[in-house]
């Protein structure tokens, strides 16, 4: 698998570290809702098809990326910096 890092260019997957599901939302840090935290920490969907994931370019620029990848074919349809994507979702406010 080749990942097109927006900073370093196309690189082999061995340079990257998988960092988990990028679709889950971290609950409000002050919340003690155990069900919400449990879902965030443990529950994972395993969709056949498109999925969003965090990858760290650990052997390169050490930036976290958000990758949209098809779980059945491994075809990557989009790659971007996680910081940009997360910041835009949150409108600059951290939870």
């Amino acid at each position: 698998m080749i990942i097109k890092c927006p900073y370093c260019g196309p690189r082999d997957v061995i340079e990257f570290t998988y960092q988990g599901d990028a679709t889950r939302q971290r609950p409000d840090p002050a919340s003690s809702d155990q069900a919400a935290w449990s879902a965030y920490v443990y529950d994972r969907a395993n969709p056949m098809g498109s999925h969003r994931e965090f990858w760290l370019h650990s052997g390169g620029c050490r930036q976290h990326l958000i990758i949209t990848r098809d779980m059945a074919t491994h075809v990557i349809s989009s790659v971007g910096f996680a910081r940009d994507a997360v910041a835009s979702v949150k409108g600059g406010e951290h939870p």
Partner: protein, 996 residues
């Protein structure tokens, strides 16, 4: 079967002789021969014994699809097993041996396994060894007893036990177009691709290009087909944008158009150049792949089909045309399609005598009849072979009337004398790589074969791999697939009669009364009856069939057995072959040696991390050990001391006077930015934004799930800069953890992280005389209790080296950590030793460091084991109630507040015996198995401060157990002793010494 070299023909160089041995006997052949053709030319027809039944087996195919003729190549003490004789090029001095026979190929004791045939049927292992679940015959023990005998009886070649002296290379390559295969389709596809200016790699698994053209008697552009192919290949290889690899088998197709190949660089050479690789492992990243991998002929399954002398019709033809070898004096062909007649034409031209052609079809075309007649072969239409007669090799076949529509066998058996039977059951496109690349193969009714799936990456199949079976359409398809233009390509002319490529849908001959086994998978000895048995026992899906019978799971990956096996299962189930489906092919397409994949990567490949003072440690008799990647002093050995004596001496010196230890390995992360304090408040359980500049604080991190993650001190160097230290083992993980939160959870925080572990050298100075030592050597700052209080930081110099000193203690003594630039580590270390001379300062290693912290009850990775909570480790006091932090919500869930959890305690040996790390805590005064464990020892030592053997342990109801007696038991190493459970603060619980 009486094989011999024909008077003429083949591309072997008859002017030269090559000498080699097989099973200790010397033979000769010619350059251009493979082992199979050379042995056949010498009249050898028995090549090996079969996997389970030890039946005599001959050569069956002429390429990578060979299931039977596997040999071991011997070279000095090195042996390479399971090499296909059909691909092994002979060279002077080649030493080969047959496999799976005892004591010899001709006389094999294990052939008695044949008599036990019904026992070794499908699922043999499962049935035989699924014994009673309990009692002396319970299954695993039975299996373990018999396994070594069965493994010896059933198997392939033996692997060598000595180190491989050869070396291997890896190569990364990039191209626009990769063409796999150089038959008529591959050559024209490569030519068309090269003409566009693309960078092209061409890979051919055989020594020379040409594929099917090598055994063709067609004229291409008026020339001999093999010669035409050779010239076309040479012209391609000469192009600057083409890399032409022969003896290169492409064996894996991965995501992102990454393909893997093995090139045989020198293993076919009698004398290898020194330093030359034996094989080269290619990783090819390509824009587009053209799979011109050809097609495999498949057999028809019939009783007695495995005796030497029965082989594929195309193999008979290839030995005659390519190597000038007749595989028999009186050859018979058995077919369900027209390609056998092409073979007959070629054989006849090569001078091979054909007795008869047995065809399951009642009618064949005029061209077929014409070929049979001109070859002088009897045409036996509407018949099938229903049995063979053979000793060690074929002497005659039995044929009977056969209805190709119903599969019904009838009529009186008739015997035909023949010593070689060439079988053709039609052709299957070699879709292995296409199948690996993804997708479901599609069944073609016309070809009675699976065609490649729809591409899901940038690849195409061309030629017979795409289902085109005659040379004219193969040329056309190859040229079209290689080109990017729509223009009609100019094609070579082909002088050959056109045949119908579609076979009759006949895969097996099953006479009502049969006395012989009908084999499907020769290499794993799977019969048609095994498949029917699997059906009756409920293993219907092809995936179950494969695993239950091991059909197609041998080193040939079922190249000849796949379709016949599916056909028999489909027939048993009363469904069609596409309804039965097919399994997905997996890499490797052909066997690959581990050596080639490893390349130069063997031995210890880990980096070795050394501290700046490493050379000093070695020069001063340190015994080191590895802690993760780091090499750290364990003890500084004096002559005649045991490890325990050495660490006790070192630890005692620290408590009594002063010692120094190298702490450069601690993880160090420079954290800068206006939001650094907020960031640390969120990742640590305690407050850091309130920490004054010039002070350090001990911090604790949890994971999101509430379990303790790491600990360490973090120093505030300015309003916007902190230096975080982490445990040595966890440094990389903590860095990644912090990066994740900054990038993915809190991208709004203005914080930057830099790993500075290797930038600083660190030395801890510990003991009652530590301050005196610093006072003697530090300039530019005072180090008294006012200027440098507990957890304070000062800057100064030692000699002319700037240092940063923080007063903190892991040992429980008055202690300081002195940090300087890594390049000055040894200089500062030696200056501290010099300053400490009046106090008999002593360097100490990890064992003493561990002893000091065990005495104090300080935790490390042994207690922060990924299962313990802050409460378990009595670190609740570090959990802030004023703010949320990572893990703050989940640390309170029910399971983590359970009263039955293990918690940290100290242990003191009551019998003055050492306590083994890992011992279980039990209540039994004598060792018992199994015992009810209620805890375990995490670290143990002899404590010079207490004069006792002590340990830290995680024990159920820990705190309320204090004062009780228990036993530390280590059944593995035979140790059992009484201990008293005490507080983990075993020495100086008030901490008066470090605050002094």
């Amino acid at each position: 079967m009486t094989a011999s070299r024909l008077p003429k023909g083949g591309r072997v160089d008859r002017a030269k002789t090559v000498r080699f041995t097989f099973d200790g006997k010397a033979y000769s052949g010619h350059p251009g021969d493979v082992l199979a053709s050379a042995l056949l030319a010498n009249g050898i027809t028995l090549f090996g014994r079969s996997f389970k039944y030890h039946r005599p087996r001959g050569v069956f195919a002429a390429g990578s699809d060979e299931p039977n003729a596997l040999v071991t190549v011997l070279s000095g003490s090195v042996r390479e097993p399971n090499v296909r004789a059909t691909e092994l090029e002979i060279y002077d001095g080649l030493v080969t041996a047959s496999q799976n026979r005892f004591p010899s190929l001709e006389h094999d004791f294990m052939a008695v396994n044949q008599l036990a045939g019904p026992i070794f049927s499908a699922g043999f292992y499962y049935k035989t060894f699924m014994g009673p679940a309990i009692g002396p015959l319970r299954s695993t023990k039975v299996w373990m007893f018999f396994e070594k005998f069965i493994r010896r009886a059933a198997g392939l070649g033996k692997a060598g036990v000595t180190a491989d002296p050869d070396h291997y290379e890896r190569m990364n390559a990039f191209c626009d177009v990769l063409v796999v295969g150089t038959g008529p389709a591959g050559l024209l596809a490569a030519e068309a691709a090269a003409e566009t200016g693309a960078q092209v790699i061409i890979a051919e698994e055989r020594p020379i290009a040409g594929g099917s053209l090598l055994a063709s008697v067609e004229l291409i552009d008026g020339r001999n087909a093999a010669v035409w192919a050779r010239e076309k290949a040479a012209a391609l290889a000469a192009l600057p944008n083409v890399r032409f690899l022969t003896r290169t088998s492409v064996w894996g197709y991965y995501d992102g158009n990454v393909l893997t190949a093995i090139e045989h660089v020198s293993d076919f050479k009698p004398n290898r150049t020194k330093g030359q690789a034996r094989q080269r492992y290619w990783i090819i990243r390509t824009g587009k792949t053209i799979l011109a991998t050809g097609a495999f002929e498949r057999p028809i399954v019939f009783p007695g089909n495995d005796c030497p002398g029965v082989m594929l019709a195309d193999a008979v033809r290839r030995y005659a045309v390519e190597y000038g070898v007749a595989t028999g004096n009186n050859v018979t062909l058995f077919t369900n399609n027209d390609s056998a007649y092409e073979a007959a034409r070629a054989l006849s031209q090569a001078g091979v005598n054909i007795v008869a052609i047995v065809d399951v079809r009642a009618d064949v075309s005029g061209a077929c009849i014409e070929i049979a007649s001109s070859a002088g072969a009897e045409l036996v239409l509407g018949h099938a072979v229903t049995g063979t007669h053979a000793g060690k090799t074929l002497s005659s076949i039995t044929v009977q009337h056969f209805n190709a529509q119903t599969g019904h066998v009838s009529g009186t058996p008739r015997e035909i004398k023949t010593d070689c039977l060439g079988v053709s059951g039609g052709w299957s496109p070699a879709i292995h790589l296409a199948s690996q690349a993804g997708g479901k193969p599609e069944w073609d009714e016309d070809l009675q074969a699976f065609l490649p799936p729809e591409p899901n990456q940038n690849w195409v199949t061309a030629g017979s791999a795409a289902g085109y079976m005659d040379t004219v359409s193969v040329f056309s398809d190859g040229a079209t697939k290689g080109s990017s233009s729509k223009a009609k390509p100019k094609l070579p002319s082909v002088d050959a009669p056109m045949f119908d490529a579609s076979p009759a849908a006949v895969f097996q001959i099953e006479p009502a009364a049969k006395s012989q086994k009908a084999f499907v998978d020769f290499q794993h000895d799977v019969t048609a009856d095994d498949i029917r048995l699997a059906y009756r026992e409920g293993f219907h899906s092809v995936e179950h069939l494969k695993r239950y019978t091991t059909l197609g799971m041998a080193t040939d990956q079922g190249k000849t057995s796949n379709i016949p096996g599916l056909a028999i299962m489909a027939d048993a189930r009363g469904i069609t072959i596409p309804e039965a489906g097919t399994t997905r092919f997996r890499p490797p397409f052909t066997p690959v040696s581990f050596g080639a994949i490893a390349g130069e990567r063997y031995g210890d490949l880990r980096p070795h991390r050394l501290t700046p003072m490493h050379d000093w440690h070695l020069a001063n008799s340190a015994k080191t050990y590895e802690a993760g990647l780091w090499h750290r002093p364990m003890i500084y050995g004096s002559h005649g001391e045991t490890v325990e004596q050495a660490y006790v001496r070192e630890a005692r010196a620290v408590r009594q006077s002063v010692g120094i230890v190298d702490v450069s390995t601690l993880g160090k992360i420079d954290i800068q930015g206006p939001d650094a304090g907020i960031f640390l408040d969120r990742v640590y359980t305690n407050m850091f934004s309130t920490l004054p500049v010039g002070k350090a604080r001990y911090g604790l991190m949890l994971r999101e799930d509430g379990i303790v993650y790491d600990d360490g001190t973090t120093w505030r160097l300015s309003e916007t800069q902190f230096l975080m230290t982490t445990t040595t083992a966890n440094a990389g993980n903590v860095m990644q953890h912090l990066e994740f939160y900054l990038d993915c959870i809190w991208p709004d925080l203005r914080v930057h992280l830099t790993s500075v572990t290797d930038v600083w050298a660190g030395t801890a100075v510990s003991g009652p005389k530590a301050r005196a030592v610093l006072e003697a050597c530090v300039t530019g700052t005072s180090v008294d209790n006012t200027t440098l209080p507990f957890m304070g930081i000062v800057y100064g110099s030692i000699g002319d080296v700037p240092v940063m000193i923080c007063r903190l203690s892991f040992s429980g003594e008055l202690a300081y950590e002195v940090y300087c630039g890594a390049g000055f580590g040894t200089q500062v270390w030696e200056a501290l030793l010099e300053a400490g001379k009046p106090y008999d300062i002593m360097p100490y290693g990890l064992e003493a460091l561990g002893t000091l912290r065990i005495e104090k009850g300080h935790v490390t990775g042994a207690e922060i084991d990924g299962r313990t909570t802050a409460h378990d480790l009595h670190l609740d006091w570090m959990l802030s109630k004023k703010k949320p932090y990572i893990g703050s919500a989940m640390k309170d869930r029910d399971g983590l507040a359970d009263e039955n959890r293990l918690s940290l305690v100290g242990l003191i040996s009551l019998d003055n015996q050492s306590i083994n790390g890992g011992s279980h805590i039990v209540s039994d005064a004598t060792p018992r198995e199994p015992a009810d464990s209620f805890g375990h020892v995490t670290a143990a030592c002899y404590s010079p401060a207490l004069g006792k053997y002590i340990a830290l342990a995680l024990v159920k109801h820990g705190t309320s157990m204090i004062g009780n007696r228990a036993y530390a038991t280590d059944l593995l190493r035979g140790k059992h002793g009484a201990v008293e459970i005490v507080s983990h603060h075993m020495f100086d619980p008030e901490g008066s010494r470090m605050h002094g």
